[in-house]
C-alpha cells in the first residue's frame, strides 16, 4: 500500500540523509535493516539495470533503467535497441516522474457522491472486480459495453480486443490526441492506399541528400522522433559524405524547421499544392535522371504550376528551384507530415507528397522510403491502431443515444483531448457506469464511477511492435523495473480476472491465468526464430534473453521495400483547404501544435517537463500565443501582453510571444496545458487550444481536421510575464562579440 511496506526489506542507505551534520553516530539513530532473504539480483549500494520499453509516446523506444536498492534512479536509451540505439528524448527521460509522481492514484477507488465529486472510497480489488463483473454480467446485450483506449501497449490492445470479442462487444475504440496530431490514422490510410500495406513507411533520413518535409516535425513529436533525430544527425555530419539538405514546408517555423536549411512559409493547408507543383515541374521539364516521366505525367494532368504558386503563396522560382534540387539528387525523400493530416484535404495532400517519392524513384531505395516490418509472429500481429475521428464520433453518438451501459477507458483522456464541441463530456453523462484504468485522475477519469489504476509503465509487463519500425523486425519488451509502489493492478490482469469471473465465451477467449502467462504464449513463436539477434532454444532461455536484452529483433537489418499500388495511375486531385469560421470575422487560422516537452498534454503533470523550456520561445510552465511581429503591431500588443483568442467554438486567453517565424495570417498556440484535473503540477495552468477547434473531419480519411479552424484576436490590456529562459532585453540576439 504505502512505499514503506515495499521498502522494508531493503537496506535504508539513504535514510535520514536529509539531516547531514558532522556529528557522530550517537547524535541520531539511523537503522540499517539487512535483508531477511537476499534476492540474487540486488547488491546493496550497487546499481542494477533493467531493460524495458518507453511508453511516453507511441514510438516504443527501448530503455534501460538504473535501479539502486529497489528504486529506479535513471532512465536511459537501450544501446542494443535497433530503434533508438541508446538515445532518448526529453519525455523519455522524464518517465521516472510518472512512476514517482505524488499525484498517482494509489489504489482502486469508487467515486461515491457522484462523478466529479472527487470523493473517493477505497475498494479492495476483489470487491472492485465483483462490482465490475456484476455490471458487465447485467448487460442486456454485450454490445452495450464500450472500450475506449488511448496510448495502449500492443499486448493490452490484443487482450482488450479478445475480451470484447469474447463478450461479443464491439472492438475497442482507440483515440489519443498525440496520434491525431501526428496524423497516424491518415498515415495508415495512406500506406494502405499507396503501398497496400498495414505498416507505416519509414523515411531513410540517414542516407539521403535532400529532405522535403511537408509539415512533419520529425525532430520533435512526429512518429519516432528519437530514431529520426539520430538519423538527422547523420544527415548533417554523418560518415556518409556531404551534408544533406533539409527543406521544411509549413506555415510556422517549428523547432524542426529551425534546424532546416530552408523554411518555406506556405499558406496553411496548401503544402500539398507545393508537392503537386514540384511533380508537375519535374514531369514537364523532364528533370532528374529518371526516365519514367511519361508514365507519371498522368498524375499531374490537372495541376497548373501558376495556380499552385498562387494558392500556396510560394513563388514559381522557388518551386522550380526545389523541383530541380529534389529531382537531381541521387537520394531524396519527401515526407508527408502530421500537419497535413490536420486539414480537410489531409489524405489527398499526403497522397500528393508521397507521389513525389514515386516520381523520383525513391521508393525502396537507399535514402528513400521503406516500410516498417509487420510483427514477426502471428500472435503479435494485432497491434494497437488509432481509429479515425469518425469512429470516436460514432462512439459518442452511441453514448449520447444511451446505447452504452458500461464504458471502459484506458489511457485515453478525450474530455481534455477533444474539443468541447465534440460533446464527449456530455455523452458520458448518458452512460450509467464508467470505469477508468488511468493511473492519474485526469479530466476523463474524474467522470468515472470506478477507478482501477493500472501500473505505471515502469511497473508493468508487455510488448510493443514499434510503428514506424526500425530497419529490421523488432518486438520491444516491457518488464517491471521496480515492484509496484502502490496497490495498483495491471489492467491486463484485471481483464483476465473479469473474463474468468464472467465465464462463458469471454473466459474461453482469455484462457491465461495472468499477464505473464499471456505474454509467454504470445511470444511463443519467436522462441525458435532463426533471425534472432539473441538465439534461444528453450522458452526459458528466450524469456531470459528477452528480459535481459529488452526485446527480440533480427540480427541483421532487413530493409523492406514497398511496391506501389494502382493508386499511382489515377490523376492526383487538387483539393483546396477549407476552414471553419468565415475569414471576415475570423481573420487568422489557428495552428495548435504539440509541445516538445508536454506533447499532447500527457506530460503536463511531470515537473521536469513543465520546467523544460520550449526550444523556440524558451517559455516553460505556461501557454502562450505566437503572433507575427506585424500582427502584434497591428493589434498593439507586445511580448507578455495577454490576448483573447476567439473561435466560433470557444475562446482562450494567454500572453503573447512575438514570433518572427510565423505567417502573418496564422496564430499558433502550443497544446499541453489547460488541465482541470491532472495533478498539482498540471491543474489550473495555461489554456487548452483544442477548446477552440472545430470537430470537423477530412471527408476522405475521416480523420480529425484539427488545424482547420479560424480565430480572431482581442487585446485584453492585461499583462502576464511568461516564465522565459531568455531575457527579453537580450531578445535572443547573437552573442555580442
Amino acid at each position: 500500500m504505502t512505499p514503506r511496506l515495499t521498502r522494508r526489506d531493503f537496506i535504508k542507505v539513504g535514510a535520514g540523509t536529509a539531516v547531514a551534520t558532522g556529528l557522530g553516530s550517537a547524535a541520531r539513530k539511523i537503522l540499517l535493516e539487512p535483508f531477511v532473504r537476499p534476492p540474487e539480483d540486488v547488491l546493496p549500494g550497487q546499481a542494477t539495470w533493467y531493460a524495458s520499453t518507453c511508453r511516453q509516446c507511441a514510438a516504443g523506444c527501448g530503455i534501460i533503467v538504473r535501479v539502486i536498492n529497489g528504486r529506479a534512479k535513471k532512465i536511459e536509451g537501450n544501446p542494443l535497441h535497433p530503434l533508438n540505439r541508446g538515445k532518448l528524448c526529453a519525455r523519455g527521460q522524464a518517465g521516472l516522474q510518472v512512476l514517482y509522481n505524488p499525484d498517482r492514484l494509489r489504489n482502486a477507488v469508487r467515486q461515491t457522491g457522484g462523478r466529479g465529486s472527487r470523493t473517493f472510497e477505497p475498494l479492495y480489488w476483489d470487491a472492485a472486480l465483483d462490482l465490475l463483473t456484476e455490471k458487465i454480467g447485467a448487460l442486456s446485450d454485450p454490445g452495450r459495453l464500450a472500450f475506449l483506449g488511448g496510448l495502449m501497449p500492443d499486448h493490452l490492445y490484443r487482450l482488450a480486443s479478445l475480451f470484447c470479442d469474447g463478450l461479443g462487444a464491439p472492438p475497442p475504440v482507440i483515440f489519443d490526441l498525440h496520434s491525431a496530431l501526428e496524423g497516424r490514422a491518415t498515415a495508415d490510410r495512406l500506406s494502405k492506399a499507396f503501398f497496400g500495406s498495414d505498416e507505416l513507411p519509414v523515411y531513410d533520413l540517414a542516407h539521403t541528400e535532400v529532405v522535403l518535409s511537408f509539415g512533419a516535425n520529425f525532430l520533435e513529436t512526429w512518429m519516432s522522433p528519437v530514431a529520426q533525430s539520430r538519423n538527422y544527425g547523420r544527415l548533417r555530419q554523418g560518415p556518409f559524405g556531404g551534408r544533406g539538405l533539409l527543406v521544411q514546408i509549413e506555415p510556422r517555423l517549428s523547432a524542426t524547421a529551425a534546424s532546416a536549411d530552408e523554411w518555406i512559409p506556405v499558406r496553411p493547408g496548401t503544402e500539398a499544392h507545393v508537392a503537386l507543383a514540384l511533380g508537375r515541374i519535374i514531369v514537364e521539364e523532364r528533370l532528374g535522371h529518371v526516365g519514367s516521366h511519361r508514365s507519371y505525367a498522368v498524375l499531374y494532368q490537372d495541376v497548373e504550376v501558376g495556380d499552385m504558386a498562387q494558392a500556396s503563396d510560394v513563388s514559381v522560382e522557388t518551386l522550380r528551384r526545389l523541383a530541380r534540387v529534389f529531382a537531381d539528387a541521387d537520394h531524396a525523400v519527401a515526407i508527408p507530415g502530421g500537419y497535413l493530416a490536420g486539414h480537410r484535404n489531409g489524405l489527398a495532400g499526403m497522397l500528393a507528397v508521397q507521389a513525389l517519392n514515386v516520381l523520383a524513384a525513391q521508393v525502396g531505395r537507399e535514402g528513400g522510403v521503406f516500410l516498417s516490418h509487420p510483427a514477426p509472429a502471428s500472435a503479435l500481429a494485432q497491434t494497437a491502431r488509432v481509429d479515425t475521428f469518425d469512429r470516436v464520433g460514432d462512439l459518442i453518438a452511441r453514448m449520447r443515444a444511451g446505447e452504452v451501459d458500461v464504458l471502459m477507458v484506458h489511457g485515453a483522456n478525450p474530455i481534455f483531448e477533444l474539443p468541447a464541441a465534440a460533446g464527449f463530456a456530455e455523452a458520458v453523462s448518458h452512460v450509467p457506469f464508467v470505469v477508468s484504468f488511468n493511473s492519474f485522475v485526469d479530466e476523463t477519469a474524474i467522470q468515472a464511477d470506478l477507478l482501477l489504476p493500472d501500473h505505471s509503465y515502469l511497473e508493468s509487463w508487455g510488448y510493443q511492435v514499434p510503428a514506424p519500425g526500425a530497419d529490421r523486425p523488432v518486438v520491444s519488451a516491457q518488464q517491471p523495473v521496480v515492484r509496484p509502489l502502490y496497490d495498483t493492478r495491471a489492467t491486463a490482469d484485471v481483464l483476465l480476472a473479469l473474463a474468468s469471473r464472467l465465464g462463458g465465451p469471454a473466459a474461453a477467449a482469455l484462457p491465461w491465468v495472468d499477464e505473464v502467462a499471456f505474454l509467454e504464449s504470445s511470444l511463443g513463436e519467436l522462441v525458435s526464430s532463426s533471425l534472432s539477434a539473441f538465439p534461444a532454444d528453450t522458452a526459458g532461455d528466450f524469456w531470459a534473453v528477452w528480459r535481459r536484452s529488452g526485446g527480440w529483433w533480427s540480427e541483421k537489418e532487413i530493409p523492406r521495400e514497398p511496391e506501389v499500388t494502382s493508386v499511382v495511375e489515377t490523376p492526383l486531385r487538387v483539393v483546396e483547404p477549407t476552414s471553419e469560421g468565415d475569414s471576415g470575422s475570423y481573420p487568422f487560422l489557428l495552428y495548435p501544435y504539440p509541445s516538445v516537452s508536454l506533447s499532447d498534454g500527457r506530460g503536463a503533470n511531470l515537473p521536469w517537463l513543465q520546467e523544460t523550456p520550449d526550444p523556440m520561445t524558451t517559455v516553460s510552465w505556461g501557454t502562450w500565443v505566437e503572433l507575427h511581429p506585424e500582427t502584434a503591431r497591428s493589434l498593439g500588443v507586445v511580448d507578455d501582453d495577454v490576448v483573447r483568442v476567439v473561435s466560433p467554438f470557444g475562446s482562450l486567453e494567454a500572453p503573447v510571444v512575438v514570433y518572427p517565424g510565423i505567417r502573418p495570417d496564422v496564430v499558433a498556440i502550443p497544446i499541453g496545458q489547460g488541465h482541470v484535473d491532472y495533478g498539482r503540477f498540471a491543474e489550473r495552468r495555461g489554456g487548452n487550444p483544442l477548446a477552440l477547434v472545430a470537430p470537423v473531419t477530412d471527408p476522405d480519411s475521416g480523420a480529425w481536421a484539427w488545424a482547420a479552424t479560424r480565430v480572431r484576436l482581442e487585446a485584453t490590456g492585461r499583462r502576464k510575464a511568461l516564465a522565459r529562459l531568455e531575457s527579453l532585453e537580450g531578445a535572443g540576439r547573437e552573442s555580442l562579440r
Binding site: D9, E33, F35, V36, R37, P38, G45
Partner: protein, 179 residues
C-alpha cells in the same frame, strides 16, 4: 584613590573573560570527541569477539565490501545459516530466530555515519591492500562495535597524504570524496 579603583576594576575584567573563553573551547572540544566516539545501543548484543575467535572472516558477514561502496550487514538468513544449529539456547540468538520467524529485518543501529556529501567506497580501499582493522580497529576483541577513531576529514587525509606522490595528488583532491 579613584585611579587605583579604576585600575582594579580593569585588572579583573580581561583575565575573567579569557578564562571563560578557554573553558568554553576546551569543553566543546572534549564534548564533541565524546559524542563522536559514542556507540548507539544495538537490538542484539552481538559479540564480534566470539565470531572472530571462531575463525569467521569479516567478509563472511560483510560480503559486499569488495564489490560495493557498502560493506553490508549479514542477512537474517546468513545468521540463521549457522544459528539454526549453533548456540540455539543463547537468549541473544533466540532474538535472531524470532526475527527470522517473523520475517522481519534486524533493526541494527548504524555506528559509523558519514555526512551525505561524503562519498566513501570500501572497494578501492580494500583493493589498495588495506585490511578492515586499519580503520575499524581491533574488532576481533570487541563485543558490539565501538568506533576507535572519529572518522572526520582530517582522519581521512592523514592517510591519503601519506600515499606516493602521484597518487596523493589525486587522493587529496576534494572531488575524490565530495561530489
Amino acid at each position: 584613590m579613584k585611579a587605583s579603583n579604576g585600575r582594579r576594576g580593569f585588572a579583573l575584567l580581561w583575565p575573567g573573560l579569557s578564562l571563560v573563553l578557554v573553558v568554553l573551547v576546551v569543553g566543546a572540544a572534549l564534548l564533541s570527541r565524546r559524542v563522536a566516539l559514542a556507540a548507539p545501543a544495538q537490538p542484539i548484543a552481538f559479540p564480534h569477539r566470539l565470531h572472530a575467535n571462531a575463525g569467521v572472516p569479516c567478509l563472511f558477514c560483510h560480503p559486499n565490501a569488495m564489490r560495493s561502496p557498502i560493506a553490508g550487514l549479514p542477512s537474517v538468513q546468513r545468521c540463521m545459516g549457522c544459528h539454526a544449529y549453533v548456540e540455539r539456547g543463547n537468549p541473544e540468538v533466540k532474538k535472531i530466530a524470532q526475527y527470522w520467524e517473523e520475517e522481519k529485518p534486524i533493526p541494527w543501529a548504524r555506528v559509523i555515519l558519514e555526512p551525505d556529501f561524503v562519498y566513501f567506497s570500501h572497494q578501492p580501499h580494500l583493493s589498495a591492500g588495506l585490511n578492515c582493522e586499519t580503520c575499524h580497529g581491533d574488532v576481533a576483541s570487541m563485543g558490539t562495535y565501538q568506533p576507535v577513531a572519529r572518522m572526520d576529514m582530517g582522519w581521512c587525509l592523514d592517510c591519503h597524504l601519506e600515499q606516493p606522490q602521484e597518487d596523493a595528488a589525486r587522493l587529496t583532491d576534494c572531488l575524490t570524496c565530495h561530489r
